[in-house]
C-alpha cells in the first residue's frame, strides 16, 4: 500500500486525488471534512486547529497500518489542516483506492472515524456571539 500522510496549513482534495488515481484501481472513495458555518444552530466564525504534530503523524501511521492489515487497499491519503480555518475551508481529507469499491468505502469510513478518536488534533470554535469553545 502506498501512503501519503501530511499535516499542514492548507490541504486540497486535488492533491489526494493526484496521489491515489491509478489505472490499477477501480474504485476511489474520498472523504472531505469542511468547516461548517454553524454548530448546533450557532453561527461559527472560524475554527482554530492545533496539533501535537509528531504524535499525530505517528497515530496516523498506526491507522494506516491497521487499514493495511484489514483490507486490500492499494493507496491511501490522510491530510489534516491546522491553524485558522473558515467556513467552507477543508479541514481533513481521507482518500482510499482499491480494486473493489466496498472495501474502499469501509476503509475510508474507518480511517476518518478512528482519526477523530485517536489523533491528537484539537479544534477551538469561535462563535459569532463571541464565545470560544
Amino acid at each position: 500500500m502506498e501512503i501519503l500522510i501530511d499535516i499542514k496549513d492548507t490541504i486540497t482534495v486535488q492533491e489526494a486525488l493526484d496521489f491515489i488515481q491509478s489505472p490499477a484501481c477501480g474504485g476511489e472513495v474520498i472523504f472531505a471534512g469542511t468547516v461548517r458555518n454553524h454548530t448546533k444552530q450557532r453561527p461559527v466564525l472560524k475554527l482554530f486547529y492545533e496539533c501535537y504534530e509528531a504524535m499525530a503523524i505517528s497515530e496516523m501511521q498506526k491507522i494506516a497500518t491497521q487499514v493495511q492489515e484489514r483490507w486490500e487497499i492499494q493507496k491511501m491519503v490522510m491530510l489534516h489542516a491546522v491553524g485558522d480555518k473558515y467556513p467552507g475551508d477543508i479541514a481533513v481529507v481521507i482518500a482510499v483506492a482499491a480494486a473493489h469499491r466496498g472495501i474502499a468505502f469501509d476503509a475510508c469510513e474507518y480511517v476518518i472515524d478512528t482519526l477523530k478518536e485517536t489523533v491528537p488534533i484539537w479544534k477551538k470554535e469561535f462563535f459569532a456571539d463571541g464565545e470560544i469553545a
Binding site: 471534512g33 501535537y52 509528531a54 504524535m55 499525530a56 505517528s58 477523530k116 488534533i121 484539537w122 479544534k123
Partner: protein, 77 residues
Amino acid sequence: MGILLFGVAKDITGAAMLEKPAQVRDVAALKAWLYEAYPGLQQLKSMMIAVNRTYAADSQVINEQDEVAVIPPVSGG
C-alpha cells in the same frame, strides 16, 4: 523535565509546558498530581497521557528523558 500540554488542557493550566515534580515517576502519579494542582482538569471528559508520542497506561513508568504530554479529548477532523 517538561510536560507538554495541548488544547483545553493548556487553557485550563495556562501553560504549554509544566515542570514535572521529581517525585512523580509514573503516569498514575502524574495524573494525580495534575488533578490536584489544576482541579479544572477534573472537568475534562478524558485526560490521556502520552509518553514518547504513544498513549500510556497508568502503570507506565516515566523516565527523565521521556517526552511526556497531556492529551485532552481530541477533536480533529
